[in-house]
């Protein structure tokens, strides 16, 4: 097993720089997820770790060995691709054996390795089938099997679940998590799906525009986003962000004031962005909560809870409320209550999280 270290990693295509000096340390056996919108540089970063893209500047270390100039085959990494990259002319067993045969592993050893991994992944009965005769989930498992049989130091996953339907994605997500717990191989996983990131990761790396916005455990990032980008990216629906101005006792949003006792400390008059998670508001007042009048646009029932699409002044917001079996009581909602301790403040200019209480 091995850790992966990226120091000042830069990727440029001619004059166009797409990754701007990434520093990241993936510990041994850790499962790190790179998440961000399309074009943020997460796949490029993964491909640089795999050796499929040249590193323009910076240092990549795997298991303590500098890998910048090392060929992909000598990095001892295995990669699972978005479209599975299964060889259509080979059956499942031959697909899984491909890398082992290239590395001239003895035939009987290849056979037993494949049998073991097929058993783990539930592929034993499909070993003779070709990829075209498999379902999306089975193909995905074969792609993982091909990576696992190599017993690499590092697994690299490039959006491996994005071609699956929602139900299968949920199943495969759990399978990947179980496999990682079982095998304990250092893994770097790229996705644009924040739910995948939250559920799979030991640590999440949020990327935007070729740079890292924040690194932390899923709950650290969810509870304490470093900036408005991270706040808006993680969470479903994302955090509501409203422009406001601080007063001595709270923050004024439109014609309402959210009380923030003990959080301001002399910053009155400062322009901020007030962040409120959709699930943090309540329909009834609670201790240290402030009323926020809203104009309800739409109620979307999701079963046990519903999404309330509303406006406060010009600002559109989404809140979550429990249905208790019916949404009738939600149609007349005109006020939500915001608990003071769960409100996040960000600088209006830089978007960075503010900690004003100290």
């Amino acid at each position: 097993m091995a850790g992966v270290e990226l120091e000042g990693i830069v990727k440029a295509y001619g004059a166009l720089q797409v990754v701007h000096g990434i520093d990241l340390n993936v510990a041994e056996k850790e499962f790190v997820v790179l998440v961000g919108p399309s074009g943020c540089g997460k796949s490029t970063t993964l491909r640089m770790i795999a050796g499929l893209e040249e590193i323009t500047d910076g240092t990549l270390t795997i298991d303590g060995r500098m890998m910048n100039r090392v060929a992909p085959k000598d990095r001892d990494v295995a990669m699972v691709f978005q479209n599975y990259a299964l060889y259509p002319h080979l059956n499942v067993a031959d697909n899984m054996a491909f890398g082992l045969r290239i590395r001239k592993m003895p035939k009987d050893q290849i056979k037993s390795t494949i049998a073991d991994v097929a058993e783990i992944l539930g592929l034993t009965e499909y070993l003779e089938r070709r990829p075209a005769d498999l379902s999306g989930g089975q193909r995905q498992r074969v792609a993982m099997g091909r990576a696992i049989v190599r017993h690499p130091k590092v697994f690299l996953f490039d959006e491996p679940l994005s071609n699956l339907d929602a139900k299968l994605r949920t199943q495969m997500r759990a399978e990947i998590k179980r496999l990682h717990n079982r095998l304990g191989v250092t893994s770097v996983y790229v996705t644009h799906d924040q739910v995948e990131a939250m559920t799979l990761a030991d640590r999440i790396v949020v990327m935007n525009d070729g740079a890292i916005e924040q690194v932390g455990t899923p709950m650290e990032l969810f509870n304490n986003p470093a900036n408005t980008f991270v706040a808006g990216f993680l969470g479903s629906p994302p955090m509501n962000q409203m422009r406001g101005t601080l007063t001595d006792t709270g923050a004024v949003i439109g014609d309402a004031e959210i009380a923030l006792p003990g959080q301001i400390n002399g910053h009155a008059g400062r322009d901020v962005i007030v962040g409120i998670r959709p699930e943090h508001v309540t329909l009834l007042p609670s201790e240290q909560s402030s009323a926020l009048p809203i104009a309800l646009d739409l109620v979307e029932p999701l079963g046990s809870e519903a999404l309330l699409h509303a406006r406060h002044g010009d600002t559109a917001m989404v809140f979550k409320a429990e249905t208790h079996g019916s949404i009738d009581h939600l149609s007349g909602v005109d006020t939500v209550h915001v608990p003071a301790g769960l409100v996040k403040l960000f600088d209006a200019e830089t978007g960075r999280a503010l900690s004003l209480g100290a």
């Binding site: 795999a50 499929l52 085959k73 479209n83 890398g99 091909r146």
Partner: protein
């Protein structure tokens, strides 16, 4: 509607009529909606009718004692007489054997040539060099066979030809290549490769371009080198295209590019160069035996048809790839 429901026996026929009407209405609607496509398709259909289907009427002269004065319809039937004449004619048998031998050589050397060329082009990383090389090998395809044969005749000329000049440098006597039967087939097959391999490689290059790039990336991570990737990914991936092209090629096996044969052969090389089509040309047009030539042409077509059907069904059975 009243008829349809009046009795159980009367139901089937009106229903069927209603279905026919509905199908007819759907067809009319379809034509109204897509008429532009049919207008575009029309020239090709007309071409097939005029140049390929209508002439089939004349095929019957293969079974008649045809006279241009009596015409096709009035000429008397003679059954398989012309076919018996053909198969008792040594020159025709020789032409059949020559056709098969030249086609076999073409298949053996000429068919793999564009595939190998496409694989080689695929390995060239320098874009400008690749484009230049491709242009150079595509060019002979656009040159008329008359000019191509002129170049070949000049190149192999015993007096001023480049080949004999080089042979002369090594102290050997000039060889009269184009008058010696044993040299005709290598020269003919080689000329065909030179003329068509480049252009033929376009189909395979297109097939290679369609191979999923992540297959190569996955192989690179697995440790495959370029040679292994070519053998284990590229060739298997373009195999369906190779098989389709092979079936088409087998369908044309009796159609040796006879214009090039006519341009390159001479009586001294008939022994190895005379193919069915050149024999038909000489018998039909030069000697006026149209019925015998038609019988030979029909034989050619039947053999080609059987071959292409066989190749197609074999390919479908063993590789799940077929033309139809």
């Amino acid at each position: 509607m009243a008829d349809q429901t009046s009795s159980s026996g009367a139901i089937a026929k009106p229903k069927s009529t209603a279905t026919d009407n509905s199908r007819w209405a759907q067809t009319v609607d379809h034509f109204k909606r897509e008429w532009q496509l049919y207008v575009m398709l029309a020239p090709t259909i007309i071409w097939f009718i005029v140049f390929l289907y209508k002439p089939m009427y004349g095929l019957q002269i293969a079974f008649k004692d045809y006279s241009i004065f009596r015409g096709v319809a009035a000429s008397p039937w003679v059954g398989f007489e012309h076919f018996e004449t053909l198969f008792s004619n040594d020159q025709f048998i020789r032409a059949v054997m020559n056709t098969i031998k030249i086609s076999a050589l073409n298949l053996l050397f000429g068919f793999p040539a564009p595939i190998i060329l496409a694989l080689m082009f695929n390995e060239i990383l320098h874009a400008t060099y690749k484009k230049t090389a491709q242009t150079i090998v595509y060019l002979p395809h656009f040159i008329s066979s008359v000019i191509i044969s002129g170049i070949v005749i000049t190149a192999f000329s015993p007096t001023a030809g480049i080949v004999n000049t080089v042979i002369g440098w090594f102290g050997f006597d000039p060889v009269y290549f184009l008058t010696q039967p044993e040299w005709f087939r290598p020269i003919f097959v080689g000329t065909g490769i030179w003329q068509e391999a480049g252009f033929g490689s376009i189909v395979f290059l297109a097939a290679i371009a369609g191979v999923n790039p992540s297959l190569y990336e996955s192989a690179v991570v697995d440790g495959a080198n370029r040679w292994q990737m070519m053998w284990k990914i590229t060739i298997p991936s373009i195999l369906p295209t190779i098989l389709i092209m092979l079936i088409i090629r087998i369908g044309n096996i009796m159609e040796v590019s006879w214009e090039l044969v006519i341009l390159l052969y001479q009586p001294a090389t008939y022994e190895t160069a005379d193919v069915v089509n050149t024999w038909v040309y000489r018998q039909g047009l030069q000697s006026g035996q149209y019925d015998l030539a038609a019988a030979a042409g029909l034989f050619n077509a039947v053999v080609a048809f059987v071959l292409v059907m066989t190749a197609n069904s074999l390919s479908r059975r063993f590789s799940r790839t077929s033309l139809w």
